[in-house]
């Protein structure tokens, strides 16, 4: 054991420590950062930027002079990007780039076509009956907003006229078509007036540049890729706070290095909210330690468009029901090959990212495969994902160590996906716990009745496509085993009436291994689409199953598993989802140990309840979205 010092030495050390403390105080006073001001309307870059009266005109200029501990306050207004921000902070002394007002559209950084956005381009009425307008537009675009409303792309003028997409599938009653050869853009705004007047001249029209390179459109292709680029290649130590990002080529904020926080910001017309440098297995080239928090991410009204199609433009009785016919936005037509779906609040995620306290809503995906594939130790917690056309979170491909907890996922067609498409390494380990997932009866019922595809809240499986990859030729295709501790889904409360537990995306002869469901409370109609399919090697333990509506052959007892319970369904109209978040009834005192999850949830062996309330007696909605400045 080490030994103690003499009192003489103590006295000496006290004096030295005292002097050092004084130095530290003086040093910290000296190190207090400078506040720079930016005002696009009144500023000028040849000023010193140290007061509102002598503000810089551009964020770039402030970024060129700011250093560790400095703060840059950006006045209200519209700033045309892309903005390459070169400032670099230091550990504990970040450069803070903040909007003076965090409200939506108060401080906007946009890559939109400036003439169009400022209403300096004349619209020509092409067809009054259809409300069809056109305007000249030479450059390729991937996204068009009218006053923040995200328009459906159509592949031809005829498709736009008829609101149909490829294959004759119905599309929503507003959209655009870009005639790239003729250099004109055609739009039809929603005639109902629910998104404002149908005349484009009465809106702010924001038209993005083209998206990124590569088949997925996720490759960096120059600065129009982003609204704001944090250009430092190593640790940037930058905080971005309170901006509205609009219609970039791909992402609102692009992090070229590491150690960046983006908070209290709004993402409109962004295929991705915050991106890292690139995706990949090599951690030397990916971006690490990025936090995205208290932000709002949307492609409004992607979900409203889907519901409009389902309610008003579903297949006629007797007509073939093609699966997922509401995926009109999953078409590249009309965008010159640019992908506009595969969306997410973050993308090109490297190691140790945190996505928390965000509101992700009305988007095609919340975090798609092309956003978080290859991520390592990604934490997704305390977010609300709401009204999403496809999946809220897609754990594939190759992700490692993902934790998804304490989120709320509402009215999302298929909330969670573990559907590798690129072969090994299979995604995992992954820990999914304490989430509250809920779909309305109407959504699941309408989807099922009009398409023949009844949604499942957990989509899983490795399709044959995985074995088309060169590195898979010697990999057995009879078993798909999640690595490490596996995929551990525990203590979630899922209210999914008229839906299934599982959407299986692999042949029933292929076996899942190392996937575990423990202590979950689930309301659903049936296990999966096949009454004879029992999930084979998926491990089920101590779950509670409430079949709703009551159907034969639901196989709820399979999901309940050892120690689980199957409860009679409540009568129609008496399903109260909130009841399942109370520590009483079937949830109370019925938790079982989840040893598989100990590395992510230290108390997993001491869980007391089923469902999303493993310890406490209360459950609270997460605090999400941009916060007003105090």
């Amino acid at each position: 054991m080490p030994t103690s010092a003499s009192s003489l030495t103590s006295s000496l050390i006290r004096r030295v420590a005292g002097a050092w403390a004084l130095l530290c105080v003086a040093g910290s006073a000296l190190a207090a950062g400078v506040t720079y001001h930016v005002n696009g309307a009144t500023g000028a870059d040849d000023r010193d930027g140290r007061s509102p009266a002598t503000a810089f005109a551009t964020i770039q200029r402030a970024g060129a002079v700011a250093g560790p501990g400095d703060r840059i306050v950006v006045a209200k207004g519209v700033y045309y990007g892309p903005v390459e921000f070169t400032a670099k902070g230091a550990p504990g002394r970040p450069v803070v780039l903040e909007a003076e007002d965090r409200s939506r559209n108060a401080v906007i950084i946009t890559n939109a076509n400036r003439e169009m956005r400022e209403g300096r381009v004349a619209w020509r009425l092409e067809d009054q009956a259809l409300g069809l307008y056109s305007a000249p537009l030479a450059e390729i675009t991937a996204r068009v907003l009218y006053s923040g409303v995200d328009l459906q792309p159509y592949g031809s003028l005829d498709q736009l006229r008829g609101f149909v997409v490829e294959g004759g599938q119905p599309g929503p009653a507003h959209g655009y078509f870009h005639d790239t050869a003729g250099g004109r853009i055609y739009v039809r705004l929603h005639a109902s007036g629910r998104y404002g007047p149908p005349e484009p001249a009465k809106h702010v029209i924001s038209i993005s540049p083209r998206t990124g390179n590569g088949s997925a459109g996720t490759g960096y292709n120059g600065p129009t890729f982003f609204n704001l680029g944090i250009m430092e290649r190593q640790s940037a130590h930058v905080v971005v706070d309170g901006f509205t990002f609009e219609t970039p080529g791909f992402s609102g904020v692009h992090v070229n290095g590491h150690d960046v926080v983006v908070r209290n910001s709004w993402f409109l017309g962004c295929r991705a909210g915050v991106t890292g440098r690139r995706e990949g297995a090599d951690t030397k080239v990916t971006s690490h330690r990025v936090v995205v928090e208290y932000c709002d991410y949307t492609q409004f009204p992607a979900f409203e468009d889907m519901m409009e199609v389902i309610r008003e433009r579903g297949p006629a009785p007797g007509a073939p029901t093609y699966p997922l016919y509401w995926w009109s936005r999953k078409s590249r037509a009309g965008t010159a090959g640019n992908i506009t779906y595969e969306t997410g609040i973050a993308a090109l995620v490297g190691s140790d990212w945190v996505i928390r306290h965000n509101r992700v809503h009305n988007s095609f995906e919340g975090l798609s495969v092309w956003c978080i594939r290859w991520s390592k130790n990604l934490q997704i917690h305390d977010n609300v994902f709401e009204r999403i056309v496809d999946n809220a979170i897609e754990l594939e491909d190759h992700s490692e160590g993902m934790r998804i907890y304490r989120n709320v996922i509402l009215n999302t067609v298929e909330p969670l996906s573990w559907q590798p498409l690129d072969g090994t390494p299979w995604p995992g380990p992954a820990f999914i716990h304490e989430n509250y997932i809920r779909n309305s009866e109407e959504l699941n019922r309408l989807a099922a009745e009009t398409s023949g595809h009844r949604p499942g809240w957990f989509k899983a499986g490795a399709s044959r496509a995985n074995w088309t990859r060169a590195h898979m030729k010697d990999v057995p295709d009879d078993v798909v085993r999640a690595p490490g501790a596996g995929v551990v889904v525990f203590n979630n409360t899922v209210v999914f009436p008229h839906g299934y537990f599982l959407t299986r995306t692999q042949p029933h002869t292929r076996i899942y291994e190392n996937i575990h469901f423990v202590n979950n409370v689930v309301v659903a109609q049936a296990f999966s689409s096949r009454e004879d399919y029992r999930g084979d090697n998926i491990a089920f333990r101590n779950n509670a199953w409430i079949g709703f509506p009551r159907v034969d052959g639901h196989l709820g007892e399979v999901f309940a598993g050892q120690g689980g319970v199957v409860v009679s369904a409540p009568p129609p109209g008496e399903l109260r989802p909130e009841d399942f978040l109370l520590p009483q009834g079937l949830a109370a005192g019925a938790g079982a140990p989840v040893t598989e999850a100990l590395e992510a949830f230290p108390e997993a062996n001491d869980i007391r309840h089923r469902g999303a309330i493993p310890f406490g007696s209360t459950w609270a909605w997460p605090d999400v979205g941009p916060r007003a400045r105090n």
Binding site: P2, S4, S10, V291, P602, F615
Partner: protein, 300 residues
């Protein structure tokens, strides 16, 4: 700065008749200053008393205890095989049925802090939890900070709000039974959480794990944690009534808590092997000779 109330067998004594300069060199060894700046440092020399004033003693209680009742009786054993120890120094023995506990408010540290322990596990469970040192309880609003062992590997946890762990840091080093380790958890507020494992036999670092992302600037002192449930070993660290006890046969030779983040050098100094007396004496003699030589030249 706290004054050391404990005067163990210091290097000075072991040097015997070595020179005065050698003594001076020994007294400014970093480990000594590190210890005297601890909030508490227990050496378990036949008791669970703090050795750094003001004294903050630990109370042995049974694993079934509510607060401090019923108490437990612990035994001590002589430690051998550690070069940094003087003969006769002891460790407290754990049988898998007790914890050492205090409700002293001094351990409700909200900022930077360090937990350190010299431990030899009787067994290393390959599954399940073992609490080493900390103050945390999983009931809502009561999570704090702790160093523990999960499935045979160390784990550090940290909560800013008490509601959820902001950081769960998993070491990848497989701990062995019947082996001495110096283990520590260091929270540098707003900067990092780190686990270090040293081998006190060789003084070498065995493993270090750290996280710098998402590190809060404070640790929760809310809820019943504010009542001061600081403990070595662990009860109620999971849910109420849980037992994350140090396994039977475990020995803890010393432990300490600091209200600062110890540096890597400071942690290393706690595990450093004392300099051999002959070498220290030789160094001291050299220094003395050099000083005398300079004085003589000045006079010339």
């Amino acid at each position: 700065m706290k004054q050391p109330a404990y005067r163990p067998l210091v290097t000075l004594v072991r040097l015997g008749a070595a020179s005065a300069l050698a003594v001076a060199a020994a007294t400014i060894a970093p480990a000594q200053t590190v210890i005297q700046n601890a909030v508490a440092f227990w050496t378990f020399e036949g008791n669970t008393q703090d050795t750094v004033a003001p004294l903050r003693h630990l109370t042995p209680v049974a694993s079934t205890a509510a607060a401090f009742d019923p108490p437990a009786s612990v035994t001590y054993s002589t430690v051998t095989g550690l070069p940094g120890l003087a003969p006769g120094q002891q460790a407290v023995n754990f049988t898998g049925a007790e914890v050492l506990k205090t409700s002293d408010a001094a351990f409700r540290i909200g900022g930077s802090q360090t937990f350190w322990m010299r431990v030899n596990f009787g067994t290393v469970p390959t599954s399940g939890n073992v609490g080493l040192i900390g103050r945390t309880r999983a009931n809502n609003g009561n999570r704090g900070i702790a160093l523990q062992m999960v499935n045979g590997r160390l784990q550090g946890v940290l909560s800013e709000t008490g509601q959820t762990y902001n950081v769960i840091l998993n070491s990848t080093y497989d701990m062995l039974a019947n082996t001495w380790y110096d283990v520590s958890l260091t929270f540098d507020a707003g900067t990092s959480l780190r686990i270090d494992i040293f081998n006190p036999v060789t003084g070498l670092l065995l493993s270090s794990a750290s996280q710098t992302l998402n590190i809060p600037t404070s640790v929760s002192t809310a809820g019943s944690i504010a009542a001061g449930y600081f403990q070595i070993s662990g009860i109620n660290a999971g849910s109420s009534g849980s037992s994350w006890l140090l396994p039977n046969g475990t020995k803890v030779e010393a432990a300490g808590v600091w209200s600062t983040a110890l540096t890597s050098e400071q942690l290393a100094s706690l595990s450093a092997i004392p300099e051999p007396a002959s070498a220290a004496a030789a160094l001291g003699a050299c220094a003395l000779a050099a000083t005398a030589l300079r004085r003589r030249r000045r006079r010339v």
